[in-house]
Symmetry: C2
Subunit: 242 residues, 2 copies
């Protein structure tokens, strides 16, 4: 992506403030007053754009910002000693990135755009400073960090399940997240490859592919490449709770 644009726009004030952002419900502004949001809005450095495959930040880089995703999807990956990639999470608009840098001084994951993305930047030091004026802000941040831990617990539970249950839960979760953002919960595009889904779920890409076909044969979903339509949500959910 054009790093020229980035350089220029980084000098400017944000074009879009938090007050007018439609993702407020999901992002930091949740539970803050208008005035408080205004204060937060001031430390949001910029509204950037990146293309598919670009890095929002690299593993090992200094932790110097939280990112609030505005549009697009991001994968959070970590590497082991042998250079194997592990997909830790998929991030959707309204969600924060950077929690993997919170415990140390450096990010332990890389954040990579799966499609064109736009996002805002929040300097942790300023957030911290602002947190003294707005106690609620510190609380929200801690709460969001706790949600990350919660996601980890969900994954532990999921990782003990059969392959088909894992994929069903994954699709149901994606559907729910689309719904929360005002998109169709029954028809959406998978911005990640089968390989990435498999990596995330601890399955081989072939297994993901097979299961999708199987779900389609069972009349649960309809698949056309990256597009997925959920035909029988109850049937899908029955997989998860069982």
């Amino acid at each position: 992506m054009s790093s020229f644009q980035q350089l220029f726009s980084s000098k400017r004030r944000p074009q879009v403030s938090c007050e007018s952002c439609s993702l407020g419900r999901l992002c930091i502004p949740q539970g803050l007053s208008e005035q408080e949001v205004e204060l937060v809005s001031r430390i949001v450095t910029i509204n950037r754009t990146l293309g598919k495959g670009d890095y929002l930040y690299h593993s090992g880089e200094w932790f110097h910002r939280f990112l609030a995703l505005k549009s697009g999807t991001v994968k959070l990956v970590t590497l082991d000693g042998a250079g194997n990639e592990y997909v830790v999470d998929f991030v959707m608009p309204g969600e924060l990135l950077g929690f993997d840098g919170l415990s140390g001084e450096r990010y332990t994951c890389s954040a990579i755009a799966l499609e064109t993305v736009s996002y805002c930047e929040l300097p942790p030091h300023q957030l911290e400073r602002l947190g003294r004026e707005i106690p609620k802000l510190s609380q929200i941040l801690l709460q969001l960090s706790g949600s990350q831990f919660q996601l980890g617990i969900q994954r532990v539970v999921l990782s003990r399940r059969q392959a088909d249950e894992r994929l069903a839960a994954f699709l149901a979760h994606l559907s729910e997240r689309h719904r929360k953002r005002g998109f169709s919960p029954t028809e959406f595009r998978l911005s990640m490859t089968r390989q990435e889904i498999g990596n995330y779920l601890g399955l081989a890409p072939e297994t993901v592919s097979r299961l999708m076909s199987q779900f389609e044969a069972s009349g649960l979903i309809l698949v056309q490449g990256k597009m997925v339509r959920i035909l029988d949500m109850d049937g899908l959910l029955r997989f998860c709770s069982q």
Copy 2:
């Protein structure tokens, strides 16, 4: 365990303050000045004791306190709809409990003592209030919460590995944690059953048992029931990094 003792002692001021606690390095006091630790010490409600099998808190209960473990080991478990138990974490002295309640209003896990434990209680509201006076405190709390997320990432990576690598990493991690607490890193007692280890690692208890025998046959460790002696730490670590 005697709930009488609890009722009585809960009315008292703590006998042991944070200033004199040997676990300060690991617990909240890390990085705080003496005065600040003194302030924290004042909101630490109590120094309690529980026996094996007792619950420190229950899943579904209101999140009303953090716990700082002083001695003993605790398992953090969550349940799925079918009532299956999933071991989320093992907690050792100096570590905080309660992060699973941070994102909502209720705990999502139960904390169960694996042996006699003692611990302190920290009311989140008071911590939050104190955080306004001591910015560093909010920071530490957020950092500790971030470490929980970090542990989740480690588990993701580990869960993709072979059974023997998982167990080797588990033993090495336990060893390291013992070392940090001033105990022998080469000889220690497993306070959890093979079943619980297996549950934690995503393995059947039989597999854990078999692998321990295998490690012993390879001269890596020496097993006598719950006692483990590590004979070849390098050999064990070679499993993990590979």
